[in-house]
Symmetry: C2
Subunit: 148 residues, 2 copies
């Protein structure tokens, strides 16, 4: 893991993850825990909703996307708990067996006015399937310490 | 489960869930799968970050909040996949053993211009701990069929 701090980032920088395959079992398990809408775990319900098979919960796709982002290893000691995220768009469904990766772009560095030792990094996260289609976008705020 | 449709909702309506207790094991399990920042699964790292114990990933709190919302049983056949959410604010940490519930308020009904049989319901979701403090807010869009 590298050890970037807030002031090591530059707007426009992009980072890309490798692909991860999402299994049917993972989709069903997440749905049962957090989002039991039938089209997330029941084949017939998914087909009745117009899909060829079950589709992942958007909260699952979002959480997996964050895992891919985490595994980029952009920082270790600099990270502090995040204040939130916005603009989460579930653009296309995620099906069992599909591969996803993420592309993250640094949008803005926001130094804290009240705590000069830290600030926010605003990052756009795109989640893509292997055809290149974007299936989810989100803007995440990451709170990071400043170097020095 | 009741069977509300888009046109059964009125802006200003609120719904409240019962409490759910979140365990240490659930917090660690979610963190290991989706958000392995050390303060989500390692006691020492959490204390070094200034917390008395580990704190749940914000994606975990968000997903649990959605489960509480789902369990309100506001609809069954009317629901279609959601286009997204916004304004997710992680306001306070969620600790192991805490109880959470959600309060949902209908903000707006947005009939589809292109598909008169459906539309969007914009709902504000507040997640509260048993002291009454709000720990997470989000605005979710739910796509619903219209009755008739």
């Amino acid at each position: 893991m590298s050890d970037r701090y807030l002031n090591d980032f530059i707007p426009g920088q992009t980072f890309e993850s490798p692909f991860m395959t999402v299994t049917r079992e993972q989709i069903i398990d997440f749905a049962r825990n957090f989002d039991p809408n039938p089209f997330h775990h029941d084949e017939q319900a998914a087909r009745e909703a117009g899909y060829p098979t079950i589709i992942a919960s958007g909260f699952h796709t979002l959480s997996l996307s964050f895992r891919l982002f985490f595994d980029l290893g952009l920082w270790s000691t600099a990270i502090l708990p995040s204040p939130g995220l916005s603009g989460v768009k579930f653009m296309r469904p995620l099906f069992p067996g599909q591969k996803i990766r993420i592309r993250a772009e640094v949008l803005e560095l926001i130094p804290s006015m009240s705590n000069p030792g830290q600030g926010l990094l605003r990052i756009r996260h795109d989640t893509l399937v292997d055809s290149g289609e974007v299936i989810l976008v989100a803007e995440c705020l990451h709170r990071l310490r400043r170097r020095g």
